[in-house]
């Protein structure tokens, strides 16, 4: 199965794609002709979105910042082959996803923090106001972080891109270099694992 790394060891770029929104179209044309100011506009316009994808996949601010840089370097190098069949933002997010996945696979595994089994959701739902609820919310986020960290890079990528970034299965296939069937299985496995981690917090009373 062809998976994350590109032929040169760097992150693999997605194949080129679909539509360009009108706001990006003019600036893209100028950037493709080598206009740096135009590329700067692209960077400034899309940095936050690229960071969000990178962070959701790496779960690390520093790594996400590195991915942002790598993404725009790759995009600059490949801009001329971008055919505009995808939204520019979508294309950049795909590059970011590949760069993030490469980075995750390169870095050594870190043992996850033990997860507190106490049902935080119950505290969220309790009548306790103010700080307690905020603390419970933070705790829930920590549990979610831990659950996401327990996923394999592939599962996390598939789940994040589908559920958090709301990309289509077809788009995720291109990023991950998988078949639609394999991509769906990655997502299902991710959800099943997340469920096992978070069920005590969100448990439904029969």
């Amino acid at each position: 199965m062809r998976f994350f790394p590109g032929p040169n060891g760097g992150c693999r770029l997605p194949s080129n794609l679909l539509i360009v929104n009108e706001a990006d179209a003019a600036i893209l044309t100028r950037a493709k002709s080598g206009n740096r100011e135009a590329f700067r506009t692209i960077v400034e316009r899309h940095s936050a979105g690229v960071f969000r994808v990178a962070y959701r996949l790496t779960r690390s601010e520093q790594d996400a910042e590195d991915v942002v840089q790598e993404t725009f370097l790759k995009a600059y190098a490949e801009l001329r082959s971008f055919e505009g069949r995808a939204a520019l933002g979508t294309w950049l997010h795909r590059i970011a996803a590949n760069c993030a996945i490469d980075l995750i696979r390169r870095r050594p595994a870190v043992a996850g923090e033990p997860v507190d089994a106490e049902p935080a959701i119950m505290r969220v739902a309790s009548a306790s106001p103010g700080p307690d609820r905020q603390a419970a919310g933070r705790e829930m986020r920590e549990h979610v972080e831990a659950a996401l960290a327990d996923l394999t890079p592939l599962e996390r990528a598939a789940f994040t891109l589908r559920h958090l970034e709301e990309q289509s299965i077809e788009e995720i296939c291109r990023v991950l270099g998988q078949s639609p069937s394999a991509t769906r299985h990655s997502i299902f496995r991710a959800v099943a694992k997340m469920r096992r981690s978070l069920a005590p917090l969100v448990g439904v009373q029969p």
Binding site: R36, S47, R80, R141, F159, V191, V202
Partner: protein, 259 residues
């Protein structure tokens, strides 16, 4: 009673199941509290997952990213699409040029550029139809020179082992050639030797490129590159283009008060 398998349940909750399968599952859920609870649990897990906390980035984040990125970018990216990006409007520009150039070109008869004209003369010039027409010529031919320069630079730097596919370059050379002929003809008629001579030098190279095989051997490519080099075409296009841009700027700024 058989319950719904987890994977199928997840597929339904994620809206990834086939419509018919989904309908079957929903029918089952209507009568099975246990599976309904399972489905609800999956939904809650998914909702909880959305609560992930992406650190905020300020409004100037893009500028920070650029500040880090800019020094790492290659100094002069040559994008094939930059000149492979010729557009039909070039032909339209040529038509406009043909219409106006006969009135204009005395200004480009080889005299040095006068970029220091007194502003007192500016209003008169900027409202003068000749000034407007000159701007049109400068914009159209200047853009043509810029595209041609980028095309030749890219060709001059093309390297490959074995044969080189120049099909894309040929397509664009064909477009540049058509426009080049139009411009040269109109500028010749208007007695503008500086520009028409340069267009005349450019034409045989474009013609050669158009008529070449779509794949060149390495020696053929080297020979073509040498011919471009020996005519100093890139240099001439660059210098003339810069002069034209300077002249354009002068006209533009001079014209601003009246616009």
């Amino acid at each position: 009673m058989n319950h719904i398998q987890e994977e199928l349940l997840i597929a339904v909750v994620l809206d990834e199941a086939e419509p018919r399968t989904r309908a079957d599952v929903e029918l089952h859920l209507a009568g099975c509290e246990s599976c309904r609870n399972e489905a609800e649990e999956v939904r809650r897990v998914l909702r909880a997952a959305v609560s992930d906390d992406v650190p905020e980035r300020g409004p100037d984040y893009g500028a920070h990213v650029w500040a880090r990125l800019e020094p790492r970018l290659p100094p002069a990216a040559r994008h094939r699409s930059s000149w492979v990006d010729a557009r039909p409007w070039l032909a339209a520009a040529a038509a406009v040029l043909l219409a106006v150039s006969a009135f204009v070109i005395g200004r480009w008869s080889g005299a040095p550029l006068d970029t220091t004209r007194e502003s007192a003369a500016v209003h008169e010039i900027s409202t003068d139809p000749r000034s407007v027409r000159e701007r049109v010529v400068l914009a159209a031919v200047g853009d043509h020179f810029e595209r041609a320069e980028r095309a030749l630079v890219e060709l001059a730097h093309a390297t490959d082992e074995g044969t080189v596919d120049i099909g894309a370059e040929q397509a664009w050379a064909r477009q540049l050639l058509d426009v080049n002929r139009l411009y040269r003809q109109s500028l010749q008629d208007a007695s503008s030797p500086v520009l028409s001579d340069l267009l005349g030098e450019l034409e045989p190279i474009l013609l050669e490129l158009v008529n070449s095989p779509s794949r060149l051997s390495e020696p053929e490519l080297r020979a073509l590159q040498a011919r471009i080099e020996e005519r100093s075409l890139v240099f001439k296009l660059r210098v003339t283009g810069a002069q034209m841009r300077a002249r354009q700027r002068t006209l533009f700024h001079d014209g601003e008060p009246t616009s």
